[in-house]
């Protein structure tokens, strides 16, 4: 028995969108509803993720605003914010709500506008993203989010011999994957040389190691296991694990081991009665190339220390042993914060259905999504399977 099922999925292209949040969200939500064959009044509750609308455009209490806009005024609505894991947390709570019998058919989704073109400039956005680090014990040092993951990655390099070239290989792989995905922010391939020639943001990360600031939205329709068979193309939610860790990062026992991800993955695999070996493909949170290395290892998809070499030797390529970020990942598909988590769920749904179009993988039956927030102190891992 599945915990729940996804019966409809939709997302906007991730990139630059100069329209209000409700209009951007409607594009994803109405696509998901249409995909599910569900009309707005059939949705019983809305689980919504947006990370920073208050900070970027003085826009809060967005749940009822967006529910109204897509024809669902009246139903219970809740907004989640857990930094970059925002909409995965909305998804987890939605899965629990249908599993617990509180609702049968719910909408889950997220939206965000982060591009300097449609909002604030790079320095101001860097400060806003930095709000997820500890206000008293980290922000005063001038730490940024590239800096957070640079601190983890430098230690990983020290302990495992991961190199800047390994990191560049992750960027090259994900740009290549993104070039096949029409929804991706970046449509161009790149090369190791191009990555290593780009300017340093926070060493060891260069500009091409970092995901872009994106605008975008994503949404899925989630139903209870009981109801799933009455929809055309249900995909099972077999497990959702949710771990947290100590903040600030200096107090974590072994920061680069990302223990929250390891705990979330174990929990998700156990619920799904599966193991890392049985996962056919994964979407992981590669906000920076080093983050993909840590995540691949934390999920057990590659051995500890092998995250970098796995990208370099093709193990995690789309035709490799365990394709990671076939969508392009955050690195190339883009990272509209509050839309990223459910964006991964959209990707898993479409790949498992065989609906992923130009970037479809061959014969994938079971996928994992890994979405983290802040300094990885929130991590949610989801396992989905063909029904």
């Amino acid at each position: 028995m599945a915990r729940a099922a996804v019966v409809g999925a939709g997302m906007t292209k991730f990139g630059v969108h100069d329209k209000p949040l409700q209009e951007l969200f409607a594009e994803a939500a109405l696509t998901a509803l249409e995909d599910a064959g569900v009309a707005p009044p059939e949705i019983e509750a809305f689980y919504f993720g947006n990370a920073m609308g208050g900070q970027t455009e003085n826009d809060t209490h967005l749940g009822p605003k967006l529910a109204t806009h897509v024809g669902m005024a009246g139903i219970p609505v809740q907004r989640f914010e857990d930094a970059c894991a925002t909409s995965s947390n909305a998804f987890k709570n939605a899965v629990e709500a249908v599993e617990g019998g509180h609702h049968d058919v719910v909408l889950v989704g997220g939206v965000e506008r982060c591009t300097p073109k449609t909002g604030k400039d790079t320095a101001e956005m860097t400060r806003i993203f930095g709000s997820a680090s500890h206000r008293q014990y980290e922000q005063p040092t001038g730490l940024t989010f590239p800096g957070v993951f640079a601190l983890f990655t430098k230690r990983h390099m020290h302990e495992h011999g991961t190199t800047e070239r390994h990191l560049a290989e992750v960027a090259v792989k994900n740009h290549g994957n993104g070039s096949l995905n029409e929804k991706a922010h970046f449509g161009k391939s790149t090369s190791v040389e191009e990555v290593l020639d780009s300017p340093v943001v926070a060493d060891p990360f260069r500009l091409m190691d970092c995901c872009p600031f994106s605008d975008g939205a994503s949404a899925v329709v989630v139903v209870s296991d009981d109801l799933a068979d009455s929809y055309d193309a249900a995909v099972d939610v077999a497990g959702v694990g949710h771990g947290t860790d100590i903040v600030p990062l200096a107090d974590k026992e072994t920061p680069h081991v990302t223990i929250a991800a390891r705990n979330a993955a174990s929990e998700a695999y156990e619920q799904a009665d599966t193991t890392a070996d049985a996962i056919d493909f994964a979407e992981v949170h590669d906000c920076f190339t080093g983050a993909e290395v840590l995540a691949s290892e934390a999920l057990g998809l590659v051995a500890d220390g092998e995250g970098g070499p796995a990208a370099a030797d093709g193990t995690t390529a789309r035709d490799g042993e365990i394709p990671i970020n076939a969508s392009g990942g955050l690195k190339a598909k883009g990272h509209p914060i509050g839309a990223t988590g459910t964006g991964q769920i959209v990707e898993l749904t479409q790949q498992i259905r065989g609906d992923a179009g130009t970037h479809q993988l061959d014969g994938v039956e079971r996928g994992a999504a890994h979405n983290l927030g802040g300094d990885a102190a929130t991590t949610i891992v989801t396992v989905m399977e063909g029904r």
Binding site: T126, P140, G142, T144, L151, A202, P204, L249
Partner: protein, 123 residues
């Protein structure tokens, strides 16, 4: 037994005075570099304030070239320093350091909202 209650205010004053305060858990022995109301490892609320060594080895580091709004510099180094059983994050001043290099607390900086951070230098 309740914690003796090290606060951010007291921690900050100590930093400004050239000292680093942390907390030791009498139940599990863990030592924290940032004040908390309970031990994040075992939940004990009996945390004891301890003075941390002000010299130690760099645990990890990065140099930040794209700063947030409010920070005027570029190319500054942020370090996490192992100080006895605890770790503390701070800004590095002076010559760049790598993992394993020895550094010592040398000063503090204050951000636009008045929050302080320790500053370390290579020794």
């Amino acid at each position: 037994m309740m914690s003796d209650g090290l606060t951010h205010g007291e921690w900050s004053e100590a930093v400004a005075d050239g000292e680093l305060l942390g907390q030791r858990c009498p139940d599990c022995g863990a030592v924290q570099g940032a004040p908390k109301a309970a031990c994040p490892h075992c939940g004990s609320t009996a945390l004891e304030t301890v003075a941390l060594p002000t010299e130690g080895a760099v645990y990890t580091e990065t140099t930040i070239n794209v700063p947030p709004a409010g920070v005027e510099e570029r190319g500054y180094q942020v370090v996490v320093v192992q100080l006895g059983d605890a770790r503390v994050m701070g800004r590095l001043r002076g010559d760049a350091v790598g993992i394993g290099d020895r550094v010592a607390l040398s000063d503090s900086i204050t951000d636009e909202d008045g929050y302080v951070a320790p500053v370390f230098e290579a020794v």
